[in-house]
Symmetry: C2
Subunit: 327 residues, 2 copies
Amino acid sequence: MKTLAVIPCILVLLIASVRAGDSLPSWNDTGPKKAIIAFVEQVTRPDSPAFVPVAKRIATFDNDGTLWAEQPIYFQNYFIFDRIKALAPQHPEWISREPFASVIKGDLKSAVAGGDQAQLEMAIATQSGMTTDEFEKAVTNWIATARHPQTGRLYTGMVYQPMLELLAYLRANGFKTFIVSGGGIDFMRPWSEKVYGIPPEQVIGSSMKTKFELRNGKPVLVGLPELNFIDDNAGKPVGIQSHIGRRPIAAFGNSDGDLQMMQWTDAGSGPRFCLFVHHTDAKREWAYDRKSVNGRFDKALDEARAKGWTVVSMKDDWNVVFVGDKK
Amino acid sequence: MKTLAVIPCILVLLIASVRAGDSLPSWNDTGPKKAIIAFVEQVTRPDSPAFVPVAKRIATFDNDGTLWAEQPIYFQNYFIFDRIKALAPQHPEWISREPFASVIKGDLKSAVAGGDQAQLEMAIATQSGMTTDEFEKAVTNWIATARHPQTGRLYTGMVYQPMLELLAYLRANGFKTFIVSGGGIDFMRPWSEKVYGIPPEQVIGSSMKTKFELRNGKPVLVGLPELNFIDDNAGKPVGIQSHIGRRPIAAFGNSDGDLQMMQWTDAGSGPRFCLFVHHTDAKREWAYDRKSVNGRFDKALDEARAKGWTVVSMKDDWNVVFVGDKK
């Protein structure tokens, strides 16, 4: 027992020494990096008038466009398309029914053009009737092998290195890091711990309803063809309250869908930190903001500027974008 | 920074030395205590074939009747009754409308006799329209002062000492402890950390819908007059999956409402531990099981016996019942 107990002890000391060096090497020494460090020191220094106890150091992160890329369409849609293609032989009616017909033809832009209703139909088609264990396996297999059509990378290779450093830096300073994403909770959880160091119980997302039943005496949770919750826009503070039950002191996003999460975070008492990633790097990633379908950054950009929230320019503030890339 | 980092280190060593002694002094040396210790050692010994990594050491606890008492009616109902009485002057129509009329007259048995529908109406009446911050304050004030009509104790003085020891023992062994209760999530969270050492983000319960809005430019979450989720019976595995996203390896309950949580826990691979508290002590607490309205323990008692799950007899297995009591 005692031997085991010493392991976290050593880890803590290792973390302390990492912190002494540069925990954010992929961040240039520009405003955002300085603002992050100033905030963290402000809330963690025991003699700081703005000191925040560890239990209250809650930080929430959007996923698509904040922790990994989201162009030309949300990565979860590639998963859904692959599922639809795999299931198509069992659904001959899909050949003449949108959005399935477009997916089967490979016309992915048309498939997503149907908006929220089409998204919901596709999510239902690929998740309902499956047990949660079966769905988890499908995601785990897909994320290990599927590749982005433009970069040829694994999707987990399109995670932002500076954000991985930020997550680790916050955790080393006693923060509990959560994902708060419009994406599917069941799509993120199977790989969030391995990729981001965020365990499933700290992932909040959109969801379908599930039902408990005994199948041949074996308990299962089965996906129902019914939306449970949309964790986007005004849904983000609701999801945060439902899952965490306390207000974050720091929040990280990249689009108008994150605006209410920022407002909710910012309105608490004591020190607050809100940061948006602005996609300004057409060469290393994509450049888009006010007019993008995915990750539109318009109202939130105005409000960030008006309120003095931190806005990261990927082009200027990050010296590495994707994990595994070199400076 | 380094000074701070050493604190968890010292804590870890303290915990290790506590474990070396008797971590469960309020438990008699009977079967349940032996079964708990055997399970914990089995999953935590590094050389054990049934070793479970820390991240997967998830333990879920029912609240009413498992962590604190639940007789003669659920304690949350006393809170609701007190709220209704306080709000009654603003609702003259309640004098002639059940279940409110019974509450105002002080006839609490009649007030709860209306079943789920009456419960829902009362919950709506006392929570909807309030912000989450306002509701939290109301609960915090009530729990600090209200007293149980039969024992005269604070409700937090009717928490079971042996279960507090069990929670601490599991946490000292790397478990993450969660509450999974049919009670209101917003009713438990304001005091769960102080009383049980369980932070709000590890509390799962029944809930009303909430809505995000800006009131005079200030973001608030407001309770809506609509049920969101009932975290009881078959709802417990659904709540566990939704909030935790992985299956517990140990679960603790006391009634038929916990049966599906136990089935779900027990059906995972590897070592599993399911424990029911059986209320057998009419002298120190209450004695009830198959015919009780609150905490009925009938089907689950049969299944526990059939499956060899652990059943604690409060009378025989606990030498102290309530926190603060002496042997």
